[in-house]
């Protein structure tokens, strides 16, 4: 399985632990990822607020480079990038005038956009292309007893994504069960984490993050599993500020790929787990695991 890989700016910065865990996990499953040459910022939500045309060109440039690179599906781990790239595809298909404008801009760099590249999220690829059976085979250290709150956030499932339900997505739930973890009922799984408002308008943004943490604690989750660098940052790095405002809501938030890596027997450090503000409680030593752990 070969994919183009669009890391996005966050995975090179605040979300580097996501990339650090994604790459070994994918390699372990035999998935080839080739980083898109000279990719640029997807435009994200902020750019959309300023200039729609320029934002579309930014996204389209990446899609055009992916086409030029061979047209494999473009793997996009960041939810914001995933949404922006899919949304741009959608609008360029729907609005011929905008498409013509974008096409003209791309032609300045001898690039061409056909709209055929599929933008995929690693969760989609892992569950639907690699398959849960293949993943189960690689589990050497089942996460038995670990209570996971699966948190999908907003932009992965809404509104351009089609691989899971917008209201009650289940792919990560199934993935976590495959790893041997116990999935807690987490009704806030698609609620917004506050996005960049945690930094800009903390009184609003942090409260959203707080509600997510509070519910995870109430449901007795050991760890929240995320798919998005911004969600992870908000739920992890703002813990101190949140607890100072509203009291203790201690629960670690990690990338779903980090949990996969742990189940595959990789070390926490290798997976970037040391980059968390709120550390995840170490898994019990392997020999304490029940013996059926090796059966698929």
């Amino acid at each position: 399985m070969n994919y183009s890989y669009f890391p996005g700016c966050s995975l090179k910065g605040l979300g580097r632990a996501y990339e650090e865990s994604l790459i070994p996990v994918m390699r372990h499953l035999g998935v080839e990822m080739t980083e898109l040459p000279d990719w640029n910022c997807c435009g994200a939500t902020a750019y959309m607020s300023v200039d729609e045309r320029q934002a579309s060109i930014l996204a389209a440039r990446n899609l055009a480079i992916a086409e030029k690179a061979g047209g494999q599906d473009l793997l996009t781990p960041c939810s914001a990038c995933y949404l922006v790239l899919n949304k741009t595809k959608h609008y360029l298909r729907e609005t011929p005038a905008m498409r013509a404008e974008v096409q003209q801009a791309l032609s300045r760099a001898h690039l061409d956009y056909s709209g055929n590249t599929k933008v995929r999220h690693p969760l989609d690829v892992l569950v639907n292309d690699v398959g849960l059976d293949a993943i189960r085979e690689k589990v050497v250290r089942p996460l038995t007893g670990l209570k996971v709150a699966p948190y999908y956030g907003c932009q992965l499932v809404r509104p351009y994504s089609t691989f899971d339900d917008a209201w009650n997505p289940t792919s990560m739930d199934r993935l976590m069960t495959t790893l041997g973890a116990e999935v807690v009922h987490y009704p806030l799984k698609t609620k917004c984490c506050g996005a960049s408002l945690t930094g800009t308008v903390p009184e609003a943004g942090l409260r959203l993050t707080y509600i997510l943490l509070l519910e995870a604690v109430r449901r007795k989750a050991d760890v929240i599993s995320t798919v998005c660098p911004l969600c992870q940052f908000n739920l992890d790095a703002y813990h101190g500020q949140i607890e100072r405002r509203w009291g203790k809501v201690r629960v670690a938030t990690v990338y779903f790929t980090q949990l996969m890596g742990l189940a595959f027997g990789m070390s926490p450090r290798e997976l970037g787990l040391n980059r968390n503000f709120i550390p995840m409680a170490p898994l019990p030593p392997l020999h304490a695991q029940p013996s059926e752990s090796s059966t698929p």
């Binding site: 209201w167 009650n168 009704p187 509600i211």
Partner: protein, 663 residues
């Protein structure tokens, strides 16, 4: 073609303004002027309303004064007024088929904004009709006798009322119902709005009249399997499912039910929408008609395993009504008209997961609450939460599944009133705080606004806003252990969280899941939403495009009980109008074989009505006019052009094409 002799052809052309409908876009005077100069056109006029009595009179006078023998009227769709004008032409002494209609309203003025182009189109269409009408021949209709029996499909309130109306007029009626009892949705209701009179008191006497009426043959637990023939002469095959109880012998004593080897009712009871339990042998509800038990083959031990003690048979004793050997049977009946009253189904609330139906036990549908509030229901009329306690606060969410492009875009019309009725009953029974979350209160019926007024005075809270979600996570102390509704109070202008004990979802109506196959069975059309399509929303609201097939009740669209009954009466009257005339007049658009038929027989297998046969004597095909329904398929495919179709003759169509294109 232009060689046609115009001598003797005197055409009158009339273009209708239809008030502003046509004249607002099309320059009618200009069209009349340009058509007036065509060869053969003697009179060309524009007039405000051609279909009005003065308009028709204008036609009749001109026919007499100018000795016209062909008439063209350009106005609305022929499906609307062709018959009107043919009758007017006939009144003036012309053959009604020496008339041609041009549709410049639905096909031009209403669909185009460019006045010049629409006028040009009206001229082209009119020229085509003028050229075509020259070729029209005098035709006569044939009369076919009508079978006076009527089939009514569906035994809800609409079907019951239609059947009784017809039977009371002395007609023979077959009433076919899929469920083991008639009664439909109405039988499940406690009280009816806006009068709050008891539903059973209205319905059950009608149900027993059906059973008692000599003119009605009632077949429950049966479905129509096949419909053949045409108006006046339908042959209908009905599939009768086995009840495993002989209807003629069962007296409804229900001893078999008490005697069943299942001591306690164990299986979800359909009538109580799963809130109650029944045994494998059961009677759907106490007032069921017919009062005949039914045995559920999926639950009955004997039918499943063949190894039951059959205590029911012993209980039935010498009446011997129970018959485990019953098989499905097919019965054939002959009827002249069919009334389809197959009703609706309720929207599945699980399709809107954010309201938590199926996830939170105290989220119920309006029909479930209806069963809880009924004294004959599973709780004896006590409104109870799943834990057995009485709710102290109840929220009603309206428009569930309705007015939503993702589910059903229509308004279901009854849910506002239905919810207000239930809200009043909840207050009456429990004294709970009731909040109704609505988008717009639609209470336009007679006495309905007054009912809304009364609901307000009863202390029911109304919050205008579509509920965004129902959750069980508390953010404030008063929310602990409750269901929390999050909604924008759009009148107050802010978001509210409202904790309640019970939530009632006012689920909308949608077409039955098998509406498409039923539609095909009776050769009807469905609208975009899937409701059966009436022939015309105003002029023919209970007719369909198939003559002799009528629709009544909610299968045509959501409506309340008074409207369903009114429609049922209208459908019965339409059927009676046909029956009492005694014959059907057939459109003379039948096909005929010309002398130059070479006898290749290629047309014979094409006819869907097997109206074409081969005459060995003359070595030509022959069309049986009584069987021909006038589709023209044979005429369209005859390799030697030796079949013509009346009203759609080659000459007529070719002149129409020429007229359309040649300025």
């Amino acid at each position: 073609m232009n060689g046609t002799n115009h001598n003797g052809i005197r055409i009158g052309y009339y273009i209708c303004h239809c008030g502003h409908n046509i004249a607002g876009v099309i320059d009618c005077g200009e069209v009349a002027r340009r058509i007036g100069v065509l060869p053969g056109v003697v009179v060309s006029r524009d007039y405000k309303y051609m279909c009005s009595e003065p308009g028709q009179e204008l036609l009749r006078q001109d026919i007499r004064a100018h000795d016209l023998n062909r008439i063209v009227v350009a106005s609305c769709s022929p499906l609307l007024h062709e018959h009107t004008f043919r009758t007017a032409v006939e009144d003036a002494g012309l053959n009604p088929y020496h008339f041609q209609m041009v549709n410049i309203r639905e096909h031009a003025s209403w669909v185009h904004t460019d006045h010049a182009a629409a006028t040009e189109k009206a001229v082209d269409l009119s020229r085509a009709a003028v050229m075509r009408v020259r070729h029209h021949r005098a035709l006569t209709t044939t009369r076919v006798p009508i079978n006076p029996a009527v089939l009514v499909v569906g035994g809800g309130i609409a079907g019951i009322h239609a059947a009784l109306t017809l039977a009371n007029a002395g007609k023979q009626v077959f009433l076919v119902e899929r469920e083991p009892s008639i009664g439909g949705h109405m039988a499940k209701f406690d009280k009816t709005f806006p009068t709050l009179d008891c539903a059973a008191c209205i319905l059950t006497p009608k149900m027993s009249s059906v059973r008692a009426h000599k003119g009605i043959t009632l077949w429950t637990y049966s479905e129509v399997a096949k419909v053949e023939g045409y108006v006046g002469n339908y042959t209908v095959t009905v599939r009768r499912r086995p009840r495993y109880v002989n209807e003629a012998l069962c007296i409804g004593c229900q001893e078999c039910i008490s005697a069943c080897v299942y001591r306690e009712p164990k299986f979800p009871d359909e009538f109580n929408v799963g809130l109650g339990k029944r045994k494998p042998v059961y009677i759907p509800f106490p007032q069921a008609v017919p009062q005949v038990v039914v045995i559920d083959p999926d639950r009955c031990l004997e039918l499943k395993t063949g190894r039951c003690k059959k205590t029911c048979v012993d209980a039935c004793a010498d009446r011997n009504a129970i018959d485990f050997t019953q098989k499905e049977s097919l019965e054939q009946i002959q009827v002249g008209n069919i009334i389809v009253a197959t009703g609706f189904r309720l929207f599945d609330a699980k399709r809107i997961p954010q309201y938590g139906y199926g996830m939170y036990p105290n989220v119920v549908t309006s029909l479930e609450l209806e069963r809880l509030v009924t004294s004959s229901g599973p709780t004896g009329g006590e409104i109870r939460l799943r834990d057995g306690s009485a709710p102290r606060s109840v929220g009603f969410i309206l428009c569930v599944g309705s007015r939503d492009l993702k589910t059903n875009r229509w308004c279901s019309r009854t849910c506002c009133m239905h919810s207000m009725k239930l809200a009043q009953l909840v207050r009456e029974h429990t004294g709970a705080d009731v909040t109704v979350f609505y988008l717009d209160i639609r209470a336009p019926g007679k006495g309905c606004e007054e009912f809304y007024d009364r609901s307000l005075k009863e202390g029911i809270q109304f919050v205008r806003g579509r509920v965004a979600e129902v959750t069980d996570w508390a953010l404030a102390p008063e929310e602990e252990g409750k269901l929390v509704i999050r909604v924008e109070d759009t009148l107050a202008g802010f978001v509210r969280r409202i904790p309640v004990d019970m939530i009632v979802l006012a689920v909308g109506m949608e077409p039955q899941s098998d509406a498409q196959s039923v539609r095909r069975l009776f050769n009807m059309s469905c609208g975009t939403e899937g409701w059966f399509l009436e022939k015309h929303p105003k002029l023919a609201p209970v007719s369909t495009f198939t003559d002799g097939v009528f629709i009544a009740g909610c299968c045509q669209g959501p409506k309340d009980i008074p409207d369903s009954i009114a429609q049922a009466g209208a459908a019965a009257a339409e059927a009676m109008a046909l029956i009492d005339r005694g014959y059907i007049e057939q459109e003379p658009n039948t096909a005929h074989v010309l002398d130059d038929c070479c006898g290749c027989k290629s047309c014979i297998p094409l006819c869907p009505y097997t109206a074409i046969s081969f005459d060995a004597g003359s070595q030509k095909a022959v069309i049986n006019e009584a069987l021909c329904k006038g589709c023209g398929t044979c005429a369209g495919s005859c390799p030697s052009g030796s079949i013509t179709q009346n009203l759609f003759d080659d000459d007529e169509v070719f002149s129409e094409i020429e007229g359309l294109l040649h300025a």
